[in-house]
């Protein structure tokens, strides 16, 4: 059959062309594969270097623990995407297949993708075992430890999806990559400090982080093992045992049919006797709004009035006053349910305060554990804050349309500058709580790492300015993410890719200079970073306005 198919392809020029394009895709796919394998080797190398430089196996294992912990976030994000936002789902929904079948198919896809994390673990453990020159017989213990660590990682990712589905996992992944890139490029400057910190923290990390529990078992292979570490097997197995439950929950909630929603409550006339019952009531109990009532609602122009979100809090009211009528319209488009700023920041503040108080209390007893918890707490709350401050709503949400992804805004007369201005105003309105957050976080960090509090406060101020200043660049990136501006081999592609990549790196370099350079020069860096972000935004806008690329991109295979 294969021979016949090949002969058929050879005969037809059109099939030959299609076969060539498929081969191109395979080439691209194999490049991705190579890149991913490169990451696995990189993780192994880092674990090796960390171990050999510090001569502490726990430090090498700490690298693996941290990487696996980061993979939990990536895994959760990937599971959410695979189950609910995969490009295949449109096609699968048209097949006469049960939801459970689609779920199984998509879940298998997730597992296949997760095999790379298994490879990461293999590479990392093999590197550590090679460095420690453990006895050949002990190598046999590596596969079960790796398998245990991998299954724990999967279980944690699934638990995260089930219990924290709206957590901004993508921001954690992005921030993790940014931090890794910064450390990689600035390793000559920050490398020794990071390694020293990791060396001190690794024994705690391996016990505190759940991903470290199965990884710590590797220490049993070393001479004079501490058999008490076997106790860590218990919580690790407990996590693995949740797999069945989380799998069942994911499967039972996996609804793939068209969702039938009740009448929108926003237009029901107040006190109307025809108002529908809550969604929980059975279909025959629900009353329908009569045609006359609908006509009255439309005639009264009730449906034409823009949502009033200014009463939700002080920040919303401020933003309402600041925005023009056109921007209010755009706000309704990008955030159909209106802006929620005050309550969101209250939630962030509560979480952050609880974390800080816990850390301060812990610092009285275990100073080093407090630093580790601070890092963890900061990492998570920074992700939450960035998710809030750099939120774009639905404006850039891609919609699959005739085989391409088109962002929502592109179909309507929405300009680059006007949408950017609205998003910038939205971010700037949050300047005050952002400053409060960065100041508090920096001062507490300075206190815990025994640095002058004033230095911490200045650091916090600069951080807030940089986040606000990065907004124009982030908006340009959001526009870019839904276009084909960097596909193909053309001059403008190189120019745009250069603008995005070099622009991003330069911004990070300037931001690093602003935060870490001593003296008043750091403020010059700060200003330069903000200006640079704005210039990048304007340059990208120039390309955008001159129709240098399409406002659509092809979905990833």
């Amino acid at each position: 059959m294969r021979k016949r198919a090949k002969a058929e392809v050879r005969r037809s020029p059109e099939l030959r062309r299609e076969a060539r394009s498929v081969r191109r895709w395979r080439k691209e796919y194999s490049l991705n594969l190579l890149f991913r394998v490169g990451i696995s080797i990189g993780v192994g190398t880092i674990a090796w270097v960390a171990g050999s430089k510090t001569q502490h196996p726990a430090t090498a294992l700490g690298v693996i623990t941290l990487w696996t912990f980061f993979l939990v976030f990536i895994g959760a994000q990937r599971l959410l995407t695979t189950l609910y936002a995969d490009s295949n789902l449109h096609a699968l929904s048209l097949l006469p297949a049960e939801n459970s079948t689609i779920f199984r198919w998509q879940f298998q896809k997730f597992i296949r993708g997760s095999l790379f994390s298994l490879l990461d673990l293999f590479c990392a453990f093999a590197a550590v075992a090679w460095w420690l020159q453990i006895a050949p017989i002990k190598w046999l213990a590596l596969p079960p430890i790796v398998a245990l660590a991998w299954v724990t990682l999967l279980a944690l990712a699934m638990l995260s999806v089930v219990y924290l589905p709206s957590f901004p996992y993508h921001f954690v992944s992005l921030l993790g990559f940014v931090v890794a890139l910064v450390i990689l490029f600035a390793r000559d400057y920050v490398g020794p400090a990071v390694l020293a910190m990791l060396d001190r923290a690794a024994p705690h990390l391996n016990v505190v982080l759940p991903t470290g529990w199965p990884i710590s078992l590797f220490q049993l292979l070393l001479p004079e093992p501490t058999w008490l570490l076997l106790m860590l097997l218990l919580p690790a197995v407990a996590i693995i045992l949740t797999l069945r439950h989380t799998m069942a929950r994911l499967q039972s909630n996996y609804e793939f049919n068209e969702i039938v929603v009740d009448e929108a409550p926003d237009l029901m006339p107040e006190g109307s006797t025809e108002a529908p019952l809550p969604a929980s009531s059975s279909p025959d109990q629900r009353s329908r709004v009569g045609l006359t009532a609908i006509e009255d609602i439309i005639r009264s122009r009730q449906f034409m009035s823009a949502p009033q979100w200014q009463g939700r809090g002080w920040f919303e009211s401020l933003l309402w006053q600041w925005t023009t009528p056109r921007e209010k319209t755009l706000a309704e488009f990008a955030f159909p349910d209106g802006f929620i700023i005050t309550n969101a920041w209250k939630r962030i503040a509560k979480t952050f305060l609880v974390a800080m108080l816990t850390i301060l209390v812990i610092s009285y007893f275990f100073s080093f554990a407090a630093q580790m918890m601070l890092l963890l707490g900061l990492f998570i709350s920074v992700c939450q804050v960035l998710g809030r401050v750099l939120d774009n709503g639905r404006a850039f949400q891609p919609v699959l349309c005739s085989g391409v992804n088109i962002p929502m805004y592109a179909v309507y007369p929405i300009g680059y500058r006007e949408l950017s201005r609205l998003l910038w105003k939205y971010t700037t309105t949050q300047a005050l709580p952002l400053l409060a957050f960065t100041l508090t976080a920096s001062v507490v960090t300075a206190y815990l790492i025994k640095q002058p509090l004033a230095a911490g406060a200045i650091f916090g101020c600069k951080l807030a300015i940089l986040v606000l200043g990065a907004r124009p660049f982030a908006v340009a990136l959001a526009f870019s993410s839904t276009t084909n501006d960097t596909s193909g081999f053309r001059l403008r592609v190189f120019a745009l890719a250069g603008l995005i990549v070099c622009g991003g790196l330069l911004f990070f370099a300037l931001a690093a200079g602003a935060l870490f350079w001593p003296g008043a020069v750091s403020w010059v860096f700060c200003l330069a970073a903000v200006l640079h972000a704005y210039v990048c935004f304007r340059v990208y806008g120039w390309f955008y306005h001159r129709n240098r690329f399409d406002l659509m991109n092809f979905p990833k295979h």
């Binding site: 009448e263 439309i298 449906f303 159909p336 349309c401 005739s402 300009g415 306005h545 406002l551």
Partner: protein, 243 residues
Amino acid sequence: MRIELHSVLKSYGSVRALDQVSLQIEPGQIVSLLGPNGAGKTTLIRCLGGIAAPDKGTIHFDDEEFRRDRMDLRRRMQLLPDFPFHFWDQSVVRNIAIVLRLYDADGPGTEERVLELLRDFDMLPLALRPVASLSRGQSYKAALVAMFAGDRELLLLDEPFASGIDPHAIDAFKRHARGAASRGHTIIYSTQLLDIAERFSDRVCVIHKGELRAFDTLETLRERARDKDNVLQELFRQLRESA
């Protein structure tokens, strides 16, 4: 709105979706875009709507070159993809209101126009329902109501007759499109249904492999054709044979 395309070229890799397309469309016309699958019809509509950017050539609206920053021109047209974009959790009327406000077309009298359109498209009973609860055809009708309520000068529709709308809605669509054309508005739509294109277009634009093969009134095409009763089918047969 007068539309001119001058040698518009658009490629996706090695595939030429539009190959030196030049044409001129006068206001007040209904133009059907015909061609086999992958001929370049949707690309042409996307280029006109500002989503796809031509690699070469220019597009002029009323003698003014079209670029994305020409918001004045973009507000005079509306594009309806084959799968319209909706705010699925919002009601039909809320969706209509959002679109109208984006086009700054929510002035006095809009409510009566919306009401009339909802009635014409049999959407009034569903007006307060979230779009997510509607079928594909119903959600497309909601988008059509928003489009006709906006009353833009140029309406671009990708495969409106393959959108699942019922015969009554097809009839309402044709009626409102004719009404818009009589007010000097231009309607450009792509379709694969030759009999509909024969009856419902002032001009027919045939594209094949990105090239413009014919752009004329049906009468002129009929004069040239051997089979006067099946002009478009003959044209398609010729295209297949030439390929």
